[in-house]
Symmetry: C2
């Protein structure tokens, strides 16, 4: 019962009890009337600003509570210019890496009161252009999170032209803040493990070559593999470098290609666990023992890797999402930074049962 008196409350009551019984949501004016103050004071009170006496604030809050008042996000956005919404651009929602980055970013951003608006751009050029050309982003978001999307130059231009803070994950581009892992080092780590076990013939199953150059992930990991090979004094045969599509099915195909040769490699390094799992399956199909006949190592530490007993190099995906969210929060709240920030998170080797020394007669 606020001091405003029952009469005021009655007049200010938002849910009009008219004949139509149409539910109306109460506005700042209703609260102001009920609390006997101005709308400006209500605005200050509900947002927890200074310059409001404790008594007044209590009265306003009580009235707001009584009227179940909620600030209208759209009205607030219109006048403030901020939406408290972060747009997130992903090529897939249902793949491990993207789902988990999203999960981490959502977690952190929600902690800071931001919402996530989803832009699943897919891989089809048609869908892609629809999403980014039509100006669907303009005015909807305060910031952007771009996850490993292989953007075309004009799409980069569209995103840049929004003039909002932008952070990428797994996509290192000049001018944009970035959270990543050291892909070169990661590939090197995996290859060094195989070489350390005594393997001399290592095949590499990478990502698809048709994608834009920006998706350098698979290329960088191969760079690391080459580095380890050089250090180990072994050469990578060109025929042992395969392109795939990051999926289990692609891994199966690549694995079969390799294993059906008269002289197959003794070890396979896949750029993702999903492809590595496919290779494991191919080995089974071809009647090969793992790791006796073939060692297999992946990159990611997908949750299925444990049950597949797959050796892998783990990357902190959830944390990359959180880190990206934090960079965005900083950019939205703090002063503008002159230098771009690049945060590189560590990866680590996880040895399981899919790797072992090669058969002596093969060495």
């Amino acid at each position: 019962m606020p001091p405003g008196g029952p009469t005021d409350l009655k007049r200010g009551a938002a849910p009009r009890s008219g004949p139509g019984a149409g539910r109306t949501t109460s506005t700042i004016h209703d609260v102001a009337r009920a609390a006997g103050v101005s709308t400006a004071t209500v605005s200050r009170a509900v947002r927890g600003l200074d310059r409001v006496s404790p008594q007044t604030r209590a009265r306003v809050l009580a009235a707001a509570e009584a009227l179940s008042y909620t600030v209208s996000p759209v009205a607030a956005s219109l006048v403030s210019g901020r939406t408290r919404v972060v747009g997130v651009v992903v090529p897939f929602l249902n793949r491990w890496f993207f789902a988990n980055v999203l999960d981490g970013a959502e977690e952190l951003l929600r902690e800071h009161g931001y919402h996530l608006l989803l832009f699943n751009v897919g891989t089809h050029q048609t869908t892609r252009s629809l999403v980014l050309d039509h100006g669907l982003l303009r005015g909807r978001v305060d910031a952007l999170l771009v996850v490993s999307a292989d953007l075309r130059p004009e799409e980069v231009e569209v995103l840049s032209s929004l003039h909002v803070p932008l952070v990428t994950v797994g996509l290192d581009m000049a001018g944009w803040d970035c959270v990543r892992i050291d892909d070169v080092r990661t590939g090197e780590l995996a290859a060094a493990h195989l070489i350390g076990l005594g393997h001399r013939r290592i095949a590499y199953v990478g990502g698809d070559p048709s994608e834009d150059v920006h998706l350098a992930t698979a290329v960088d990991r191969l760079l690391g593999v080459r580095r380890a090979a050089r250090a180990g004094g072994l050469r990578l045969a060109r025929a042992d470098l395969l392109q795939s599509d990051w999926t289990v099915a692609g891994g199966i195909a690549a694995g079969q290609t390799l294993l059906q040769r008269p002289d197959p490699p003794t070890a396979v390094l896949a750029a993702s666990d999903e492809m590595a799992i496919g290779v494991l399956h191919a080995a089974r199909l071809c009647g090969r023992q793992v790791p006796g006949d073939l060692s297999v190592i992946g990159i990611d530490d997908h949750e299925m890797s444990f049950s597949h007993d797959l050796t892998t190099v783990a990357q902190p995906v959830h944390d990359q999402g959180r880190a990206a969210g934090q960079l965005l929060v900083d950019a939205m709240t703090g002063p503008p930074l002159s230098e771009r920030r690049v945060e590189t998170l560590p990866t680590r080797l996880v040895v399981r049962g899919s790797t072992g020394p090669p058969r002596p007669d093969w060495g």
Copy 2:
């Protein structure tokens, strides 16, 4: 070069070339001035409404193009009351079922010009209450998609009080539109397959019992298993009914529990493929042959199931997302329907190598 003349264009140009060179986005007024018409006409023209002469429309569109004008979503929302945003409430982002439902819903809703705002409520009560209590949804969304979240009564109340169209997936609640599969029939299908192979001792690995009653999925599937058992003239031992948590790890634990008994079942039916994969792993750990010593069947048709050679009952997850999206679009555009709609999508048995007849000496 619109007939408005270069003078008008110059005055109306939005990107002020002042000293600060601050990028300003052009408004409907700028376009109106440039095209020599009123803002009302611009509004009609850009939205493709009637009552605009072709010449005028062309002139307006040219001006808009020249000024790279985009309608302000927030301003439009404020006056129209619609946001063209659909809120989606999920307990997880990184699990197969949820990620794929989301993918399907996003696809269809984007086709219709709607955006998705993400609400990952998780399972922790604390997070949950923060997300749904604070009125974060109010005024932000035109409709809601709720995916298999085990909501508490007060959360149901919060969602209902928004008075927007609401569709659930995998969560059949009175009063809310729903897209689902027939869980009873699905469980029955899986069990009937095992019984048809000759199994008489079937264990069931279901979902967690601690969750709210609304998450009836695991219970319904068990109901179907019971029905098939009755039809097949066999009884389910109470000790063979296990609770798990829908994950691979949970499936491993359940599988080990079963297989370490002196008298294990000859077949296991898991309520999800992820748990079934865990059971497969447990069988390997315990040195059992699949399907020789143990048959395993799951439900879902997870993409990993193929490479695990797992027999399963497939459910159309992507399509459930699309169907839910369509129901929402209908509800937002069409006239209000008096009856609630329940759409039940079909499931089908996918026989792979993880199931076979039991060993004769065990029968």
